[in-house]
């Protein structure tokens, strides 16, 4: 069980409204990712749900019960912090046991849960070490272990992978997704990295300045971004946003074409000079200048492309993948 509902939730710090009235439902068992640029209020929103910050007005419901004024420990939620927040003077075993000790769980039950969590997270060999003797990824797993043993209604993750190096991040991403498949518990995950959001989420909530810009599955957001902000935020490399004559031809103030939806052809409507060409092997990202459309048009060509700096190319967008936006930045259906 772990359905979380927010109704007209607001948060003010003094005169500053950080979260304007906001409604959101996170279904039981869902993996929900809050994503947005830094300072968009996603962490604040998570802390409001956790109870670490008090909401100014509105209602937070957990499984249908009003939990707006419930202290954090009583909400049945477990949180994994960005810095992991492990207790440095306790062994891994004691760290994991801490929430159970506080809740007065019997010793043998504690031992059983620690064992199963350690097995699930590959920590069995490290139980008697201190956090200082562990690597970043292992610390991360201890933090998750400490959350799991509480058997919470939902897990809250606050940018848990941002302190790890790139290779480890990909590995932990998979582990967390795997964990979600196994536990089927509600998870709320905050990140500024849209790749993490796209790869892990059942539902993505895109936030900007405390507002929800769009809610949907990763592919919904990719296929039909509701406005220019979501269009520019979701997808890597970024969508090309083009204004002016080229947009007017499509009856729009702005059109957006993703780099993967532009082909290098012999005779296309757009011409330009290749600036930097990034050869990844599987793909080549071409940064094309001087098209008269935008400063740089990014093109993703599949495979190895024999284009170099200074070459002239001709580009053709795929008509069925052109996103159109009106003057206020909203999507034209």
């Amino acid at each position: 069980m772990g359905q979380i509902t927010l109704e007209k939730v607001t948060k003010r710090f003094g005169d500053v409204e950080v979260i304007p009235p906001l409604d959101l439902t996170i279904e039981d068992g869902e993996f929900c990712v809050f994503v947005g640029p830094s300072g968009c209020g996603k962490s604040t929103l998570l802390r409001l749900i956790a109870g670490l910050e008090d909401i100014t007005s509105g209602v937070i419901g957990i499984d249908g019960n009003d939990a707006s004024r419930t202290p954090p420990a009583k909400r049945g939620l477990a949180m994994v912090f960005q810095s992991y927040a492990l207790y440095p003077h306790m062994s891994v075993r004691k760290n994991i046991a801490f929430p159970m000790k506080m809740a007065g769980v019997p010793q043998d039950e504690q031992a059983r849960r620690i064992d199963s969590a350690a097995k699930a997270l590959n920590l069995t060999d490290y139980l008697d070490r201190r956090p200082g003797q562990l690597s970043g990824g292992q610390r991360q797993r201890v933090a998750i272990g400490r959350a799991i043993v509480r058997e919470p209604a939902a897990f809250l993750f606050d940018e848990p992978l941002s302190n790890l190096d790139a290779a480890l991040r990909v590995g932990m991403r998979l582990e967390i997704s795997e964990l979600h498949e196994r536990l089927k518990t509600t998870m709320i995950y905050v990140t500024h990295d849209q790749v993490e959001a796209m790869t892990m989420a059942d539902k993505i909530v895109v936030l900007r300045a405390g507002h929800i810009e769009q809610v949907g599955t990763p592919l919904e957001l990719y296929r039909a971004p509701r406005n220019l902000f979501v269009a520019g935020f979701i997808g890597s490399p970024k969508m090309n946003l083009i204004e002016g004559d080229a947009a007017r031809q499509h009856d729009a103030a702005t059109i957006g074409v993703r780099p993967e939806h532009i082909d290098v052809v012999d005779d296309g409507p757009w011409q330009g000079k290749v600036g930097v060409a990034e050869h990844l092997g599987s793909d080549t990202f071409l940064h094309v200048h001087g098209t008269g459309l935008a400063d740089i048009v990014t093109v993703r060509a599949t495979g190895e492309v024999g284009l170099r700096h200074g070459d002239t190319v001709s580009l053709a967008p795929r008509a069925e993948h052109i996103h159109r936006f009106d003057a206020s930045g909203l999507r034209i259906a």
Partner: protein, 289 residues
């Protein structure tokens, strides 16, 4: 070549300071050792100076005042340590709370540390502990109690109070910086884990402070073993407030027996080193983590 050259130049340049400091330490130490083996009475022409062997050491330790003075030293040091650390932790936690006028309050808390020991002892003796006009006497009378003659009725307690007042700011300051270095996410994590404020203090804050507490204990012990002015100004060593340091002072200046006092000084060096070795091992263990 150039590095070699500048290294020896550096040694040459540092030499005066090193030699001065070495002399500063070695001359008094050697003189103390020398006098401790001598019969030496500079202001008493009736006594013959000369070699004394170990008789000074024997006399100092067999004197009826020796063991009580060691005991008093330990009671005062221990009492001050307990008071400053317990109150220091409490004050540090209080001062860490956001409040109006934080900067000024923090400066006020540190202020007693800037008062010279002689001055603070005089202020306590005359303004607080005086049995007729002291502030505490007025307080006692206000509640209808008989005012206490602090320095004669509870002399050791009084001295512990005065010295604690002086050293509390130091403990508070060190512990406050330690409290401030505690990661806020750890406290939040423990809050989510269901820890009450009391168990948060016991399981998270106190272990975090353990290092700072060992450092406070170490530094304070070194300084507290040699407190003198507070005793000289208040009780003058009477009523069982004679510490080892004070006993040495009396032997040298009141009995004019420099040899006997020097022997006491050597004992004090040994005692301080025993305490220091103990503390260093504890600190080393705590700092390794």
């Amino acid at each position: 070549m150039a590095t070699q050259h500048s290294r020896s130049a550096a040694r040459f340049m540092m030499a005066p300071a090193v030699i001065l400091l070495l002399g500063w330490m070695l001359v008094p130490l050697t003189m103390t050792l020398w006098f401790s083996f001598r019969n030496y009475f500079p202001l008493r022409p009736d006594r013959v100076p000369g070699w004394a062997g170990f008789s000074n050491f024997e006399r100092f330790i067999s004197s009826s005042a020796f063991w009580p003075s060691v005991q008093t030293t330990l009671v005062i040091v221990g009492g001050v340590l307990v008071i400053t650390i317990v109150l220091g932790v409490a004050l540090a936690l209080l001062l860490d709370q956001p409040m109006w006028g934080q900067g000024i309050v923090r400066i006020l808390v540190i202020a007693p540390f800037f008062v010279m020991p002689t001055v603070s002892a005089l202020v306590w003796k005359n303004m607080f502990m005086d049995p007729t006009n002291g502030l505490l006497a007025h307080l006692w009378r206000f509640f209808g109690a008989e005012p206490l003659a602090w320095l004669s009725e509870a002399p050791t307690v009084s001295i512990v109070m005065i010295v604690s007042w002086q050293w509390l700011p130091f403990a508070t300051l060190i512990l406050l910086t330690a409290v401030q270095s505690l990661d806020g996410e750890q406290l939040e994590a423990s809050e989510m884990d269901g820890a009450s404020p009391l168990s948060r203090f016991y399981h998270i804050i106190l272990p975090h402070l353990s290092r700072a507490i060992t450092i406070v204990v170490l530094i304070q012990t070194i300084f507290l073993l040699s407190i003198f002015a507070e005793i000289y100004v208040t009780t003058g060593g009477a009523f069982g407030t004679r510490t080892l340091t004070y006993l040495i002072f009396q032997r040298v200046l009141e009995s004019q027996n420099v040899g006997l006092g020097s022997a006491g000084g050597v004992y004090a060096i040994i005692l301080a080193n025993i305490v220091a070795i103990f503390l260093m091992r504890i600190v080393g263990k705590n700092l390794d983590r």
